[in-house]
Subunit: 411 residues, 2 copies
């Protein structure tokens, strides 16, 4: 059986805390009303969250004619969470309170070629130490550290199975990290981090089946289906970037040809630009970020080459998103990650039009397509959310198997 009553209790605990984070203070009655859970169930879940010191009692409100209702709110200083975004060229680390406000952030650059696991782990450890020191100053114990690493990840064993851009194979990343970090660790990849960030704090909160399309150097899709994340049998679901859109098309580093990523990942967009205008001044060789920013400015200024390249790119994205719409019939598609953020509204408009042209009319009509509303790094936020979920899963699991992994020396 896939769904146990434990799964349901955990999902309900997520749901209640999500609502409290979204709207504090609130009452048990209000929570029962918005979640559809019984008042008794809500009271039990609220009790657990109070015991975890994740929420706190903050007074009473009048109820029409009845007894005053107790109010609860996030106990922002009840603990802290750390989110780690390991990317190709940098490590971002952010410290959050329990309302998922950023308390501190730090960034370590990875120099070109600096990709050996122990080098990357050294940067992560230094950055985590740096923000964890500030957690002490903020008075908050660190409840957990979520780590996002690109590629395919076994979150149970903590092994980074395959990171295509670094040629990592079966790196025991969590074991390496736990030599330096004495907090519970939770490993996953950026697709799932972005998806869970949208579920808790972004466009997907309170919505049904959602696909979070990550547009960055690599591309992929986080699948929030049936109230949870669809991970697949080996936690590698979501490799939309490596679905074929143009049979026998551009070669991809994965060995296939015509993958979505070769047309809409940042290097693919640079190639779209080079094909449209080989000596365009918008093209900054070897600098993806500068090129995407130049394209964004070009579109704003009405530069015809920039407009054309963004439209071409949007056509590829739209055809690929239409495949997701036809196959999965989601309620919501969220465009996330840095390329989507930088190209913004003009890209969104072109993508919507391209999806309309490629998708079946009925699933298209049932799907809303939006930009991620998350203002900060959604990968750090999502990674921290994995640590939050891990803490919530552990409720009542005394002496049992811990979710995620607990590093040696952790409390």
């Amino acid at each position: 059986m896939k769904h146990t009553s434990r799964d349901i209790r955990t999902a309900n605990r997520y749901e209640v805390l999500r609502h409290i984070i979204a709207e504090s203070p609130t009452s048990r009655q209000e929570l029962a009303s918005v979640t559809g859970l019984s008042l008794a169930t809500v009271a039990t879940l609220v009790g657990e969250l109070l015991e975890l010191r994740m929420i706190t009692e903050v007074g009473f409100e009048d109820s029409a004619g009845g007894r005053p209702r107790g109010l609860v709110a996030v106990h922002a200083s009840g603990g802290t969470l750390i989110g780690v975004d390991i990317a190709e060229t940098y490590v971002h680390v952010e410290l959050f309170d329990l309302a998922l406000n950023v308390l501190a952030r730090t960034e370590e650059d990875l120099r070109p070629g600096e990709h050996r696991p122990e080098q990357v782990v050294g940067h992560v450890a230094a950055a985590v130490d740096s923000v964890a020191a500030r957690a002490g100053a903020a008075g908050g114990r660190v409840l957990g550290v979520g780590v996002s690493v690109p590629g395919q990840v076994d979150r149970d064993t903590g092994i980074a199975e395959y990171a295509p851009n670094w040629d990592w194979h079966d790196v025991p990343l969590l074991d390496l990290l736990s030599e330096h970090i004495a907090h519970p660790l939770h490993l996953d990849n950026p697709l799932r981090a972005c998806a869970v960030a949208e579920q808790w704090f972004g466009a997907a909160r309170g919505r049904g089946d959602t696909v979070v399309v990550n547009l960055g150097t690599g591309v992929g899709a986080g699948l929030a289906l049936g109230g949870g994340l669809h991970r697949g049998v080996s936690n590698s679901a979501g490799e939309w970037g490596h679905t074929t859109l143009v049979l026998d098309g551009r070669p991809c580093h994965c060995g296939n040809r015509g993958c979505v990523e070769t047309y809409v990942g940042a290097p693919g967009i640079m190639l779209n630009l080079r094909e449209a205008c080989p000596d365009s001044p918008l093209l900054r060789p070897d600098d993806q970020t500068a090129t995407i920013e130049a394209l964004a400015r070009g579109v704003a200024d009405g530069d015809p080459v920039a407009v054309r390249v963004v439209r071409d790119t949007a056509r590829y994205i739209g055809a690929g998103v239409a495949n997701l719409v036809n196959l999965l019939n989601p309620e919501l598609v969220v465009l996330s990650s840095w390329v989507a953020r930088r190209l913004g509204g003009p890209l969104l408009e072109e993508v919507r039009e391209a999806v309309r042209l490629h998708a079946l009319a009925r699933p298209f009509a049932a799907t809303e397509i939006v930009l991620s509303p998350i203002p900060s790094d959604p990968v750090c936020l999502g990674a921290a959310t994995f640590a939050l979920e891990g803490t919530l899963r552990s409720v009542g699991q005394r002496n049992g198997v811990r979710p995620g992994r607990t590093a040696s020396g952790a409390r």
Copy 2:
């Protein structure tokens, strides 16, 4: 919340009955062991199934040193189920006992152009009457009628929203059928019928996430994810046939170009043959079935054109299945429906090789690809299973909303 305790009880009821159908007689202890449910839960579920007369007590077996264990088995004559497969050129109707053995079958041909809803409904009603008469002779009350109709279906309202090959739009099919058929009716489409047939009686029984790829005149994918069917927000998930594989490729009747279906649906395969050898004697214009059968015989005989066309077709199927593997990371892919059955083992081998070439190595290694083991029409079987599931869902729902739809005059 997506998953309620009612959902879990229903899923557990399915699971227990599935095991009893697969292996009768069996004991509550054995059922608890194979399902992982507690003995108390199993005892409750078995009690419900006994009360529904779907199973029956059939004696005792010795247990080593303990009390004899009560045995239960499917009560094959406890009722009957009818499955209806409305296809482009025919209506198949089959009558099943509760072990889902076929008791009777009948077929009505639809003449070319005979596609008006009332014409189709007339054929369905006649065929259902015919097999229902034999249900009476078999001593079994008809518990329900499941109906599969191509295209997009709203199973709650019973409306056939869109059937592309017939240009049906928003046909109130269940209302039309209920004027003739006085049993509970359950409407859905062939993708989901084939998927549920594999879950209950085929390759997916007891397995994790499974994609059932239907290869017929139209093509699509039934998605058995997280222990249930993934339907999407408007019950149109699975339109794999209308995902783009060749951007700007062959025109598709859906309005898009390069859809998977234009290369691997039966008419697409005929076009592959025509392109490979315009005047091949294997080609039977206007007869898909005869052409596919000629191709199958040609492959068996080593005809180079047939071998090449099946290989070309398998390459398209394989690239499309690789997209499903990369995106969904399923444990199992089942090739179903009549084109897969007729081209059989040689097609399967070529498809496996093509998937290997197009998919990422790790999700490919985690996925098994098989032919459907279901010997009869999987759509009729799956449609009857919808009626079975509907009966199981209704347990304890007295005076409440009925699952599926109950026709006027139904008991």
